[in-house]
């Protein structure tokens, strides 16, 4: 076996190589999906145990702002998908433009979420107000950290705008989008 064969065998990602972008990002994505899934499961169980407390907490939330944030994040995901397509056809300028759009919309998501937090904190609501708000702040805060991290990753891949890098950044960004899509109705709208 040649040295090149050995190196290929050592760095091979097997079936993960069939996914777009760096296989390592998919290891991270699947780990994050498991973590968020468990977190949402814990929220669901806690609601079943304290239905009245959760209904009272949910009534205070601004579901219109969260709904607006869904539209913002979905549009950002679309821009990231367009950036990936442009990068694959070596249209680096277009890819960078779409990535910047995705990042700007990610920034808008953060601004809206922080405005929502400010409104809640103004009403005297905090982490220890009730089990609902403990889980609400932890879940949305954890997600918000991922939005921030996603923007950093998109900014890093934007510099070179190469297909593999953009695919990697966009894949993480779509995971953040996917988690919010499932989290939004569970936290804000379900009764």
């Amino acid at each position: 076996m040649s040295t090149a064969d050995c190196e290929q065998q050592e760095t091979g990602w097997g079936i993960l190589e069939d996914l777009p972008g760096d296989p390592m990002i998919w290891v991270l994505i699947f780990s994050e999906l498991v973590a968020f899934g468990l977190f949402l499961g814990a929220f669901t169980v806690a609601r079943a145990v304290h239905p009245a407390v959760f209904a009272a907490g949910q009534a205070v939330l601004d579901s219109n702002l969260a709904g607006l944030n869904t539209v913002v994040l979905v549009t950002s995901g679309w821009a990231a998908a367009r950036a990936t397509r442009a990068a694959r056809t070596s249209e680096k300028r277009a890819s960078r433009w779409w990535l910047l759009t995705a990042m700007a919309l990610g920034g808008l998501f953060i601004a809206i979420k922080l405005a929502e937090y400010a409104e809640e904190i103004d009403r005297g609501i905090g982490l220890e107000t009730s089990p609902f708000f403990t889980l609400y702040f932890l879940l949305t805060g954890f997600h918000l950290l991922h939005v921030c991290l996603g923007i950093v990753i998109l900014a890093v891949v934007c510099r070179r705008a190469e297909a593999s890098g953009v695919e990697t950044g966009a894949a993480f960004w779509h995971m953040v989008d996917l988690v919010w899509i499932v989290m939004f109705p569970i936290l804000y709208l379900m009764r």
Binding site: G37, R47, V182, F184, P185, L189, R191
Partner: protein, 86 residues
């Protein structure tokens, strides 16, 4: 010509707006929650297939992400059904 990415984006925006309206249009918890979570599952699947590009990936990966979406929404709906029925 509108392509798949644009169609998916329009579908996601439409479903997001419909989701916001569900609590007013369907006030009963059981069918309302079922509708909310169905919309969430549909949106999640479109994101996985078209934005994450899993449509062209092996079925294993599509299946894993779809299973994640289904497990989370089904668990949430079953728990809400238990609350409503108790």
């Amino acid at each position: 010509m509108t392509d798949r990415l644009d169609i998916t984006w329009i579908a996601l925006i439409g479903l997001a707006l419909a989701t916001i309206l569900v609590p007013q249009l369907v006030p009963r918890p059981l069918p309302g929650n079922a509708l909310l979570l169905t919309f969430a599952a549909l949106k999640g699947r479109r994101i996985a297939l078209d934005f994450m590009d899993l449509r062209a990936a092996p079925a294993l990966w599509r299946g894993l992400v779809s299973a994640w979406i289904l497990i989370v929404v089904l668990f949430a709906w079953l728990a809400s059904a238990v609350i409503a029925l108790i």
